[in-house]
Symmetry: C2
Subunit: 311 residues, 2 copies
């Protein structure tokens, strides 16, 4: 399995268009040592030819432009090596990119019924993915299920199996009036396993809490891409009074008691741990910061755009 991190920032990217925080101002002016990042996007392949997207970032057009492997390989009027998209929730930074794939390309989209309903039934824009019968084929994900990632055509089957792990949670802010049932699968994580190599990737860009079932599944992975949105719970309210905390935005912070650095220290050594979906305000983006050095000392990496992993 080949894994490419095309984007490693949270919603808004880094720098964010209207942000004057220390990080954003610092990276714009080159005053701090930090790398610009586009919004969170991962793509995976088991054959280095056919690609499957994990979520669909608002920066997807730019991200495809930056990688020749994701571009059309022949002269057919409509062709793309992108076979499917798997959605982990309905956040704008995870779903808006679907609308950038609207140009008459047959596409398979994996999502829970809840996520599909939110984005498709509440946003008429998505009719652009139904310009002709069968343009987009939605495949339902259910919790604890396994699904083989493949394209619309049998010849586009992959060696990748996705194991779905429900993380509960609430609908995103823009859909807060959605029904709130017990088990709505608003957010999922996924473990991708390569049937040939046995390699296992854990993809968990949005996690509100870490419990024993999640730890159990993370323990089975070779590499985990994990929610690194915020350094601490008060990061946003401290900068902007009245803002929601990290946990209110359904992101477990990295630091502090009960943070991901603490709780995931129980994972076996040998698992490669990478923070991704990093908010522009997070001090780990500054490569000279104490926080950056600290998490590296704890055995964590920080995702950058362009990072590739083979499993």
């Amino acid at each position: 399995m080949l894994i490419k991190i095309l984007g490693s920032a949270a919603g808004g990217g880094f720098p964010q268009w209207n942000c004057g925080c220390n990080n954003c101002e610092g990276v714009r002016s080159s005053r701090i040592l930090a790398r610009p990042r586009t919004q969170s996007q991962v793509t995976v392949s088991s054959d280095n030819i056919n690609w499957h997207l994990l979520n669909a970032s608002p920066d997807l057009r730019q991200q495809i432009q930056s990688d020749p492997q994701l571009q059309p390989g022949n002269h057919e009027l409509r062709n793309s090596p992108i076979r499917s998209v798997l959605l982990t929730n309905a956040d704008i930074d995870h779903t808006l990119g679907l609308l950038l794939l609207r140009e008459s390309q047959p596409l398979r989209v994996y999502a829970t019924d809840f996520v599909r309903g939110l984005i498709k039934e509440r946003n008429a824009y998505f009719r652009m993915l139904e310009q002709f019968s069968g343009q987009t084929e939605w495949q339902t994900l259910t919790s604890h299920s396994f699904v083989d990632l493949s394209g619309r055509d049998d010849k586009f089957s992959s060696d990748l199996t996705a194991q779905i792990h429900s993380l509960g949670g609430k609908p995103p802010f823009w859909a807060q009036n959605a029904r709130q049932e017990e088990d709505i699968f608003a957010t999922i994580g996924v473990v991708l396993a390569d049937k040939k190599t046995g390699g296992r990737l854990g993809f968990f860009p949005g996690v509100k809490e870490i419990d024993e079932p999640l730890l159990d599944i993370l323990k089975t992975c070779d590499v985990i891409l994990f929610d690194g949105t915020f350094w601490d719970d008060e990061e946003m309210p401290r900068l902007q009074p009245g803002s929601r905390t990290a946990r209110q935005m359904q992101h477990i912070p990295i630091s502090g008691p009960g943070g991901s650095l603490d709780l995931l220290s129980k994972l076996p050594v040998g698992i490669r741990k990478i923070y991704t979906h990093i908010n522009n305000t997070n001090p780990i983006l500054n490569e000279d910061s104490a926080e950056h050095r600290w998490i590296q000392g704890e055995g964590w990496e920080i995702a950058t755009d362009g990072l590739e992993i083979t499993l």
Copy 2:
């Protein structure tokens, strides 16, 4: 008035992610002489400090990133020199970028009631522009009206007046079930006049037909940015049988009898005429093509990303 063309391609951009047409394949492989283009986006300013967007492209984050003048100028947590957005219709390539401006930035948006209703009432995503009371202030445009472009604050007033010209037309494909009344202002064009310099820009990126009232208003302009989407009416069906024609997509083609090259030849010499919103399939993108040379010979320019004009 300073005018910047940040993006000059039609929806999908150039090259388009899933397109293997002669142009897209050619520009990717450098086989043809052509410049990549992001999706149609213009920004204007009368003081070179405060900026107003004409439409909001899906590539807006990348376009802002490419221009330091559009980036925050100080250390305030939230700040931007972008004061307003004026929408000419509800097409995805003209409106999706509003969702890229969702990060708690007070914004003024000028649109007809019809366009505002389509995008805001039919797409729950837009609740992100209403996270707090007064985040987005919508200003209604009516046909043949004049409006002074300004930001939310009196100190952000500009010397620019927008004169609205209704172009009729239908709602975009994704909203085809919208009510079809006689005068729905589905698409408008705008003439921007600088009260100090007297300079006049005509912005008409989507025009289905050219009639006498439109010719009359174009005649008053110093520069026109005009719909250059398709070279001829059959451009898409010829490449992809079953596709809608240019006119069915509400774009007057450039060439042929009744095309824009023909009908706008009646304009006085001295008006600077620039085609923009150019579809990836349009042969004028190839700078070695007969079509490219032809329209240049007819006194037209072809917009490129980064083009700046002072009026």
